[in-house]
């Protein structure tokens, strides 16, 4: 039977990049198998060079932690044609070892920590064995990498949370988390752009509108950028 790729026993060493079909209308380029800032850098460099190449058949890209999904119209270009184009872009982007000089955009989000805005901050403080203020200082003390956006419109997967304040999810998820809520789940932190069900520990809330369909770039936070949380006393 002809198949597009073959099964392995799972104990072979995987070689990256791995370019494989994700059905007949998309190709997945995997650049690694872990969450790692340098792999994620390469994801966005490659996404950038695919965009620059302006390939007619390409409909959209979905960059994630360590892979890029390239969806294309197979009635415009077949699998092998797109495969070859991506292969050559990969070759040329890995040939230029120099960083593209790409400076991540930093998005500052004013956050009211604790109280009604962050009802779970005491859970986090207790689990970490520190004061509320220390949690706030640690959480707002670093810039977080936006590894990818997924789950819901504008929902950023942020990396770089200090392990000291990593906290498991709530045992029972909330039916509705207010828009703008800032939460912690294990060693991830993130912001809910819209009200939705959710199980993250909520430590604060921002009044900034993260996702606005009326705008041509609807998401304030974009993949590849960085997020900085700035503590404020009250919403403006």
């Amino acid at each position: 039977m002809p198949v597009a790729s073959s099964a392995t026993t799972g104990d072979e060493i995987e070689v990256f990049p791995r370019i494989v079909p994700a059905g007949d209308s998309a190709i997945l380029v995997e650049l690694g198998s872990e969450i790692d800032p340098s792999i994620n850098d390469r994801v966005y460099e490659l996404a950038n060079s695919i965009e620059q190449a302006n390939i007619d058949a390409v409909i959209e890209l979905v960059p994630t932690y360590r892979s890029i999904l390239v969806s294309y119209d197979p009635l415009v270009a077949g699998y092998s044609e797109v495969f070859d184009l991506l292969g050559s872009l990969l070759d040329s982007s890995s040939a230029s070892e120099e960083k593209s000089g790409f400076e991540a955009k930093i998005i500052e989000l004013p956050v009211v920590y604790g109280g009604v805005d962050g009802p779970d901050i005491d859970n986090v403080a207790e689990a970490a064995g520190m004061s509320r203020q220390e949690v706030i200082d640690i959480h707002s003390g670093v810039d977080y990498r936006v590894y990818m956006i997924g789950f819901a419109p504008g929902f950023p997967y942020l990396g770089g949370l200090d392990e000291r304040i990593a906290t498991p999810r709530l045992k029972t998820p909330r039916v509705s988390v207010p828009a703008g809520s800032v939460g912690i789940a294990e060693s991830q932190t993130g912001v809910y752009p819209n009200a939705s069900p959710g199980g993250w520990q909520l430590i604060g809330r921002t009044a900034v509108k993260l996702f606005d369909v009326e705008k041509s770039s609807p998401s304030l936070i974009t993949p590849g950028s960085k997020v900085r949380f700035v503590p404020v006393q009250a919403h403006e």
Binding site: T9, P21, G23, Y79, F151
Partner: protein, 346 residues
């Protein structure tokens, strides 16, 4: 439940925006072609039937997808045929007899505002359609400008027949390497049944467990596509459909060939599914044939040449190929008519 849907909201997945769109995209496409619309026009997706519409102006429409025995002012309307509704006419869709979703296409398309390039409704994120919600009693929508003024009763032959057993063609990957050889054999050699835990986001299947190579099923979350077959920790496949989230954390053993996605939009709980592996090249050539079938096949005029005089007008009347459809052609427009007895012309 009725939703406004079109081809889907492409281009914003990297911002977490789901594509959505008609689950049985072929039926919407056929409906749009029958009423002379562009591919991108929006129609109504009616789950399980049970919708009543009133037209405020003369409108060409067609019902496709699952048979919901539609009636216009009490007269049976054939499926997959373009017909004309007069101002004030009421179109009623009954319960579907098999399958899940009927589509109502109207000339000019349902013209609610576009949001991020699409009119599709995505309920989970409350985007598109009417305020991101299903159509409700009392809603009124504008229609766009029709491309053609009148249409005769047209039908596209060779409709897909809905059945309780489906063979679904898949392309292995992108993460088939996460599964053991026996796991892949299980997927391709077993029967699965669609459970009632299925919706526009995906079909949850029950059947033999699929073995992963390492014993774990989680991967670092990455992008998914329409038709991705995820295997969660219980080893039972989930086929992702139109309303899927943009990313997911389960390994994807295979991906449904695009040409077989539409029929999955009609797979009601209890439907048996068998998977068969094909190459990506085969899947792409099947997709090309599908495009030709839907967009290049000549439409058939369903009305025969019997002509009678009614109130001084020449009226052409007849039956469609299946013998159950009764239509009249009056000055070039096709109307469903009520006929007690019909004998073909000599």
């Amino acid at each position: 439940m009725t939703l406004i849907q079109d081809e889907g909201r492409n281009g914003y997945q990297q911002l977490g925006v789901s594509v959505s769109g008609a689950v049985d995209i072929d039926s919407l496409a056929i409906g749009n072609r029958l009423v002379g619309n562009n591919k991108s026009s929006a129609g109504l997706e009616v789950l399980l039937g049970g919708l009543t519409l009133e037209f405020s102006s003369k409108t060409v429409f067609a019902i496709t997808g699952a048979d919901s025995s539609p009636h216009l002012d009490g007269v049976a309307v054939p499926m997959n045929v373009s017909c004309v509704a007069h101002p004030g006419a009421r179109l009623e869709l009954g319960m579907v007899s098999s399958g899940l979703r009927s589509y109502v296409a109207v000339a000019g398309g349902v013209a609610v505002a576009e949001l991020l390039g699409s009119r599709s409704t995505h309920i989970a994120s409350e985007l598109g359609g009417i305020d991101g919600r299903p159509v409700d009693e009392g809603d009124v929508f504008e229609l766009g400008t029709p491309n053609v003024e009148e249409l005769s009763g047209l039908i596209l032959e060779d409709q897909i027949v809905l059945s309780g057993e489906l063979t679904v063609r898949v392309i292995l990957g992108p993460q088939d390497n996460e599964f053991s050889v026996s796991g892949i054999d299980t997927l391709l050699g077993s029967s699965y049944v669609v459970t009632d835990q299925s919706n526009r986001q995906g079909l949850r299947l029950d059947g033999p467990e699929i073995e992963s190579a390492s014993g774990r099923y989680d991967i670092i979350s990455d992008a998914v596509v329409n038709g991705s077959i995820q295997i969660p920790g219980d080893g039972k496949p989930i086929i992702l459909l139109a309303d899927r989230q943009t990313t997911g954390g389960y390994a994807k053993i295979a991906t449904v060939a695009s040409v077989d996605l539409s029929i999955l939009g009609q797979a009601s709980p209890g439907t048996i599914i068998r998977f068969v592996g094909i190459s990506v090249e085969e899947a792409q050539s099947l997709l090309l044939s599908r495009e030709q079938r839907i967009y290049e096949t000549e439409l058939i005029d369903v009305v025969d040449s019997l002509t009678v005089q009614v109130d001084g007008l020449d009226v052409r009347a007849g039956v469609a190929e299946n013998g159950s459809v009764k239509l009249a052609n009056i000055e070039g427009s096709i109307y469903p008519i009520s006929v007690d007895e019909y004998s073909p012309a000599e």
